[in-house]
Symmetry: C2
């Protein structure tokens, strides 16, 4: 492999993380809140120059919402089964030495789904050997993605509004006023996971309020119970019985690992930054 330096950016809606990578190794990394919604339309070329200057110059590889119609430019989607080679073949070049990675779309009967940014992590995890070629990968978060890999490609995926639902309930629902306690993978969380197996989410959620009113559960436990309900419902629908490879930060990863174990499955925590960097490196090999 010849000498190469790139600046890879995982540029989401509300955050971005930039990595200067020299010969495959991360030399410098930086995270900030300059997501695409914080950049004015037309402001991307100037913002890119600032970013590039700060990281010592080099070709730039951008992934995530920066490639959407809310970002710099719509980079489109490649269809499933999606590989790094297919992504490399469809990059968009808004200016010299800057490449935007397209997203991935999956259509199955009348259901469809899209991703933008996650695909570099998913394919990078497999390319780097952090997960097997046929792994079920999970990226928890506001919109939790479950991707089934086949032969190293993204064969299919589905998104659940798990994190968004928790925030919605906490911020705006009647039961939100009960959600003041901490969320940890303890007894209340596990009770929520067990309750989720009843398959009656709308009633299980409402039940938090009378349980508190009737003294059946400490109010302090409500947030953890609800997190268990939602993550339990998400995992029950998608985790299956084999290993789930979790691309998550340690706190959220611990909640998903606990729910998956409670449901009789098993999980492996994968470093999502390492996966992104591996994906960016492999993409660059196809591009250079």
């Amino acid at each position: 492999m010849r000498q190469q330096t790139i600046i890879a950016v995982d540029w989401g809606t509300t955050n971005r993380r930039a990595y200067r990578i020299e010969n495959g190794a991360v030399i410098r990394t930086e995270q900030d809140a300059l997501g695409v919604t914080a950049v004015s339309p037309g402001g991307f070329p100037a913002e890119i120059e600032r970013l590039r200057a700060r990281h010592g110059g080099a070709p730039m590889l951008l992934a995530g919402m920066v490639g959407s119609n809310r970002g710099w430019m719509d980079a489109g989607y490649v269809p499933t089964a999606a590989t790094l080679e297919a992504l490399a073949g469809a990059v968009v070049r808004p200016i010299d030495d800057v490449m935007i990675v397209p997203g991935v779309r999956h259509i199955e009967a009348r259901r469809g789904d899209v991703m933008r940014g996650e695909e570099v992590q998913l394919l990078g995890a497999v390319a780097a050997g952090l997960a097997p070629d046929d792994a079920l990968l999970c990226q928890p978060g506001t919109h939790c993605k479950w991707a089934q890999m086949r032969g190293g490609a993204i064969a299919s995926f589905i998104t659940a509004m798990t994190g968004e639902m928790f925030a919605l309930l906490k911020g705006h629902a009647l039961i939100g006023q009960e959600m003041t306690g901490p969320v940890t993978p303890g007894d209340a969380f596990v009770e929520g996971v067990r309750e989720s197996t009843r398959g009656d989410l709308l009633a299980s959620l409402f039940g938090v309020r009378p349980a508190s009113l009737l003294g059946l559960r400490d109010r302090e436990d409500a947030a953890a119970f609800i997190s268990g309900l939602l993550i339990g419902a998400d995992c029950a629908a998608h985790a299956g019985k084999g290993d789930v490879h979790l691309l998550a930060d340690p706190a959220l990863g611990a909640l998903y690992a606990c729910a998956i174990a409670e449901l009789g499955g098993s999980s492996v925590l994968v470093d999502s930054h390492a996966a992104f960097v591996a994906g960016a490196n492999r993409l660059w090999e196809y591009l250079s």
Copy 2:
């Protein structure tokens, strides 16, 4: 049955409906937005006098949130199995000739639920022969209640946040911006009911957005589809295969009837005002 006149009030959080009943027949009825949250603490005696004067005087029977700690006075709960006789035996009399009906609580293992106001409708529906003694009754709405009657008593019940969830999603979720179309029991609603049987609500809800983005479903259909998803999930969890007796207004009743039919069940629409009046009459017989 001797001559009797009462003023019965179904007094909820945001609305109330008053009925002047003479010898079992409704002579006059009135609905307004003076729910309990619109009456100041301490303002109930004066408000009651205005209401009584407007309806020509008579003993008053109050049901609903007026009997909670957010209303005039906490009237407590009677346990399941709950009968009209038990409710009559536990009424609270804040002033002469005014009686507040208690609510009902149900506890089963570590799950519990409460109702306040619905119990008069439920027991009245059965007492008036509008539903059989062992009916499964459903009261759709912001918080949808499903009550299993046994021998004419409320044996058990559970509440689902079906209507509240629809409002939450429309008002605050990312998919809310898609929810601009009408909600009718048509094709998009039925498609949502079918999708709900997958038991994957958090992903089915999120899927509305990529379906619109990828041109798989008209944006105009999204609200009806989501209503079908939520009502479908509610009915799949609670309706069973026998007749469901729906205490609902015609529009919401039609949606529930459609979902129940799509899931292979059957339903009967019951007049909820007639049920309330029947319950109030029977309660008064026990009280006078």
